[in-house]
Symmetry: C2
Subunit: 392 residues, 2 copies
């Protein structure tokens, strides 16, 4: 096991109707003027935004609003938010929405107390040393951003999708009401579920040995997703299934399932180029990339994939030939993704094989990436090619 | 799934040599004058206390010391600590030791900023509304106190063992170096492991349905303990096994495996009377009580115990008669406890059957307890009687 720090100071406020506590939570966590950042019309139509505002009003906490956060959030909205924060004297940012809205809010939180361009944090020029407090009211289980210090933003000029992270960006509180998932389209639920499973897989497939505790925690989250996702897809009003899915999404990404081990975020990196190029949902891109990455790397450690197959998918272990078991597990994963309505190849996603060299080049790999298997640009092209033609 | 709040703001600093960072951690978390509280001679003999002091000296953080924390920590030491804290102007308490030292430190933290008697918090007269910051350097995997807001103290007058809890008592940081377990006697390692497993079981056996995520997380910790505990007992220098055991102990008690569900702490309550009466180790008492409680309650929900048997102990499921599988699981648990050197009945523990009525009465149950199965005083007596004669 590697040395590690684990720090997840977010107060999670989970369950039915908890958005009505936002006002008192903001006060408890020191906010005196709030920017409410949100995305499209769904939080308005559902009445959620009104409930949040009513809760702030009740506690006499003033606020300003900024809508328009997009999936794959863009830098222009971040600049708009930073200007508004400075102009209005905002000292607390409340993201009402999913991962994109939260990521956009985190960028504003870091950028509004920084003299330079917030993009410096995303292009690696600067590390985050301070930020306004951020909190969330989560509307979809997916990115895990409600419990992480991570944020991904797309720079529109060149469509560069890049991430940043800092403990300063960990939400002070996250309100999580599973009832809100009931109005999320099934396709988005499935995309979110895929993202959650990928967050675990990127941690599970590691070269670190002797991490039984986090191995088992990873498998716990994956088993939960395998059981609960189809139940939510089948019945969007199944509160219990939604609650399990939503909390599993948070557990998957606070890093409790990832401490003490090397991690491999190559599938996320490879996918980011897909969603930057085609503006597809991140989860849909991962459904295409993650199993294809597995096809490419499983021979590096077939026993690891055989454990994935037996413990998560219930495959029988072929002790004579663990590679057979390993492949069966990957196939189960792809079948599962297909069953919940996810694309599993380029055609289903709407991606084009001829763009492969351009996407691989855009990752800007110098030599090789790190990770479970070190990848060259040519390896990434091969993974894209596997993904292009994948089938079950 | 029940509504819940989950809040675990402790910074865990885990791995080899991390105690050398204590000085900078205290400063980071706002301490300017420290009380170092510890137990007996082992932290002195091992050189740990010197390393901690050297780290504080390096950062020019002044400190005072208070040794003598005992297993089953007592109120007199807490009063002594509170006096010292007030006299010396201490603003940060650093517990160097195991659960008892940490629990004692937490009592001082709450008591030193309270006008009344700190025991008010333990006898239920007052709730904790403030506390000095507490941090820990953990020397044994057991109580989970390094990641919890809980504390248990024994009032010497009448040997009353009572608990209190508050988010204010959650440690600001906890340094966890698994190397420190190498010098812990095997019996204490086994006691700690038993306590960890009990912390999971008290959450796992619940009447709340539809908590797949926390069910699976519970099983993940239990499976880890079943694998790693015998490895630590067999070879106290097995760093990897110690690391898994130590982190599992924390995961077991931050409540990440317990949120969203009813919990049953009756076995802990029943055990507390044992260790208060005989001054035996809490873990050893739990080894005697926990499976006996299971024997008494499993018929309330045999399927729950059958899952425990199949998922944790690898028993085959008897679908015709799940009670058979359930009993097999309980037997596996008792065999495991015996194999790691734990007592499983009164004789092995040094307890006496004639004290049963007195211990049961001391719990002060009015009507019934809560929990998985509501227990009367007569039920508790019966559990003690099962425990008295238990065998494998």
């Amino acid at each position: 096991m590697n040395n590690f720090n684990f720090y997840s100071p977010t107060e999670f406020v989970f369950g039915k109707g908890r958005e009505n506590e936002v006002g008192s939570l903001v006060k408890k966590h020191g906010g005196s003027k709030v920017l409410i950042h949100y995305g499209g019309g769904s939080v308005i139509r559902s009445g959620l935004l009104d409930r949040v505002k009513a809760s702030l009003d009740k506690e006499a906490v003033p606020y300003v609003e900024l809508g328009g956060a997009k999936p794959n959030p863009v830098d222009s909205k971040v600049y708009e938010g930073i200007d508004l924060i400075k102009k209005e004297g905002v000292d607390f940012i409340l993201a009402v929405g999913g991962g994109s809205t939260i990521d956009s809010s985190k960028a504003m939180a870091a950028g509004s107390v920084y003299d330079g361009d917030f993009w410096d944090f995303y292009c690696g020029k600067e590390t985050i040393k301070a930020a306004l407090p951020v909190a969330t009211v989560l509307t979809i289980a997916a990115a895990g951003s409600e419990g992480s210090g991570d944020t991904v933003i797309t720079k529109e000029d060149g469509m560069l999708k890049r991430g940043a992270g800092s403990d300063y960006l960990r939400p002070r509180f996250s309100v999580m009401n599973p009832e809100l998932l009931a109005t999320v389209p099934k396709y988005q639920i499935a995309c979110g579920a895929t993202d959650i499973m990928a967050h675990v897989c990127e941690r599970y497939f590691t070269n670190t040995t002797e991490v039984e505790i986090t191995d088992r925690l990873c498998e716990a989250v994956l088993c939960t997703m395998v059981k609960e996702t189809p139940r939510v897809i089948a019945d969007p009003n199944n509160y219990e299934a939604m609650a399990n899915l939503m909390w599993a999404g948070t557990v998957a990404h606070t890093n409790i399932v990832g401490v003490g081990r090397d991690q491999d975020w190559n599938s996320h990196g490879i996918e980011h180029e897909l969603s930057a190029m085609y503006d597809c949902a991140h989860g849909a891109g991962l459904a295409v990339i993650m199993p294809s990455w597995m096809d490419f790397v499983y021979k590096h450690n077939p026993m690891r994939f055989a454990e994935f197959a037996t413990r998560v998918w219930g495959c029988a272990m072929d002790f004579e030939n663990p590679e057979v078991t390993a492949k069966e597990g990957i196939n189960c994963f792809r079948k599962f993704l297909k069953s919940i309505g996810m694309p599993i190849n380029f055609v289903e996603l709407g991606a084009k094989e001829e763009d492969i060299p351009a996407m691989a080049a855009k990752m800007g790999i110098e030599g090789t990436t790190g990770g479970f298997v070190k990848l060259t640009t040519a390896d990434v092209e091969e993974i894209y090619r596997i993904a292009a033609k994948a089938s079950i």
